[in-house]
């Protein structure tokens, strides 16, 4: 498979001593959606800034569409579309004017600027509001215009830095559909950063989990989840019972039992099959069970395993830091 993006050993330290990137390697296949998943402050945006020529790495190399981001920034810029974390739309211009300017900046032939503008307005359902000032747009409409701007010159690679942050659930779902269509209809490679596990799971065919400036795991969402082997069994007990975890570890096919207050967790290769045996064992031991559930592993479990903390805890830590 051709690599649309290749990065080796990217390191970036900011003047105040914060090490934003601590050796990032990436291989993004052409025509795929690649997800860079991690909590705020993990280094996702810094990686995007380096790959989009906005800032230089201290160490390491990277190519986008075969062009070196440090030595050939002009060629990289022609090959990429960028939708930043902050919306880059000009609120004091109309949607149409934003697109026309973008076409001028990328040096498209004037007639093509107009046809492409009309095409993108139509594609993102913005034709009706094309002549309204962007500051009157909803957040979802502004975000769609952002993506339209990024696609103006038909880039090979589109960077979407936290494309759905700040959107309401309905607008987010709509944006997901738009992003999923990009690789199909535009044939563009997408590098998506997100701190929503669900978003990465749903959109990306390949994932890298970033934590504290390093990639701690990578693979397809299914591969990453499969690595955890099996399902999660969760029981809510009626009362606090010591020694119950030991009861479970004697059952074949059940691993890692952990008692956390009234909650008993374990893993099983095939959760649904193990459930009756576990319930029977608990009953025999005289442990009253209030509720039982079987769940497929989530990316949250993957993150917990590789970063050593739950995603929510990492996010809170960043907020406190």
């Amino acid at each position: 498979m051709d690599s649309a993006i290749e990065a080796r050993g990217l390191v970036k330290t900011y003047p105040k001593g914060a090490r934003a990137l601590d050796g990032i390697d990436l291989d993004v296949g052409a025509g795929t959606i690649f997800g860079l998943l991690g909590p705020n402050g993990a280094g996702k945006s810094t990686t995007v800034k380096i790959l989009t020529t906005l800032t230089l790495p201290d160490e390491g190399t990277a190519t986008v569409s075969g062009n070196d981001v440090v030595r050939e920034p002009e060629r990289v810029r022609l090959a990429i579309g960028v939708v930043g974390q902050k919306s880059g739309v000009d609120p004091e211009a109309t949607g149409r004017e934003n697109l026309l300017l973008q076409g001028d900046l990328y040096g498209l032939p004037r007639s093509e600027v107009r046809t492409r503008t009309a095409e993108l307005l139509e594609r993102f359902s913005l034709t009706d509001v094309a002549r309204r000032l962007v500051r009157t747009y909803s957040g979802g409409m502004q975000r769609k215009l952002d993506i339209a701007l990024g696609l103006m010159h038909r880039p090979d690679v589109l960077f979407l830095d936290e494309p759905t942050t700040g959107l309401d659930p309905e607008a987010r779902a709509e944006m997901w559909d738009e992003i999923a269509r990009l690789t199909d209809e535009e044939g563009v490679t997408v590098l998506l950063t997100t701190h929503y596990l669900e978003e990465a799971d749903r959109l990306a065919s390949q994932l890298a989990i970033v934590d504290r400036g390093r990639i701690v795991a990578s693979g397809s969402p299914d591969e990453l989840k499969r690595e955890l082997r099996g399902d999660t069994l969760l029981f809510e007990l009626d009362g606090l019972i010591d020694g119950v975890a030991a009861t479970l570890s004697r059952i074949a096919g059940v691993r890692d039992p952990v008692l956390d207050g009234r909650f008993l967790r374990a893993r099983a290769d095939e959760g649904a099959r193990a459930l009756p045996a576990v319930l029977a064992a608990l009953e025999a031991a005289g442990v009253p069970v209030a509720a039982a559930s079987v769940a497929r592993p989530t990316l949250d479990d993957v993150y917990l395993r590789h970063a050593g903390r739950t995603f929510g805890a990492a996010e809170n830590e960043e907020v406190l830091a």
């Binding site: 003047p15 800034k49 989009t52 020529t53 906005l54 800032t55 230089l56 002009e74 810029r77 022609l78 990429i80 960028v82 930043g84 974390q85 902050k86 919306s87 880059g88 739309v89 000009d90 609120p91 004091e92 211009a93 004017e97 300017l101 973008q102 001028d104 900046l105 990328y106 040096g107 000032l133 701007l149």
Partner: protein, 256 residues
């Protein structure tokens, strides 16, 4: 080169269009210089009676000073648009596109120049209404000098905007500089009546280069050599400030 011109034109149009959509701001920008002209004109009307002030009407004397002062005042603020573009993420969108840093700065200077021309024409109109008279050549040279100074100051304002990236810093710096720079020139007072030390400082003040050349072309017996030197100095300053602002993008990109 052709593409750089297209970039500059498109970016200039963006700035002018945003200005045009703020009628109150346009109004204030145009009314303010009229107020300076009429207020100072009335306040210091009898200054011309001071011995050594070579006669004529004060409005006639004051008009070149107000034209240059207004160019300085309006151009100083152009860095604000750049900070706004940074805060909104628009600047980053431009920086990852094929647009050159030079086109971003030159478009701002061209925009500043257009504002200066319109503003100056309004001042000339008001000055004419209250009795000042200038030859066409004098009007054109004054316009040119105001545009050169305005462009240079726009470059400085943009350079500071890129380095500081804070509106408060830019506001503070502009307010700190513009009034002293105006009063350390012969904008409001005849050069030969200024204290000796002010005359000495004024020699190094670009505002004074513009004002003294602009006034010189309104008087009989213009010293064209001196006007040319001052215009040349201002042109060099414009180039230097534009290059400085273009370089300042590096400081900005290191910080993000």
């Amino acid at each position: 080169m052709k593409l750089a011109l297209r970039h500059t034109a498109a970016l200039t149009v963006r700035l002018l269009r945003a200005l045009w959509r703020q009628p109150w701001f346009v109004g204030i920008t145009l009314v303010q210089p009229m107020i300076w002209l009429l207020l100072f004109g009335a306040l210091f009307k009898r200054v011309v009676e001071i011995p050594g002030f070579h006669g004529g009407s004060y409005i006639q004397f004051l008009t070149p000073g107000i034209v240059i002062m207004s160019a300085l005042f309006s151009a100083g603020w152009h860095g604000m648009a750049l900070i706004d573009a940074i805060n909104r993420g628009i600047m980053d969108r431009f920086l990852v596109s094929p647009v050159s840093r030079g086109a971003l700065i030159v478009s701002s200077a061209v925009y500043g120049g257009v504002v200066v021309v319109v503003q100056s024409l309004v001042i000339f109109g008001v000055a004419f209404a209250v009795g000042a008279r200038f030859s066409l050549v004098a009007l054109l040279v004054m316009l040119g000098l105001a545009v050169l100074l305005g462009g240079a100051v726009t470059g400085l304002s943009n350079a500071l905007a890129l380095v500081a990236r804070q509106e408060e810093t830019l506001i503070g710096a502009v307010q700190f500089v513009v009034l002293p720079a105006t009063f350390l020139s012969s904008g409001l007072m005849a050069a030969n009546l200024m204290p000796h030390w002010v005359q000495q400082v004024a020699r190094f003040n670009p505002v004074n280069w513009a004002v003294s050349a602009a006034r010189d072309v309104t008087l009989a017996g213009t010293d064209w050599g001196s006007v040319g030197i001052h215009a040349g100095l201002l042109a060099a300053l414009l180039v230097a400030c534009t290059l400085l602002a273009t370089r300042a993008f590096r400081v900005y990109q290191r910080a993000i």
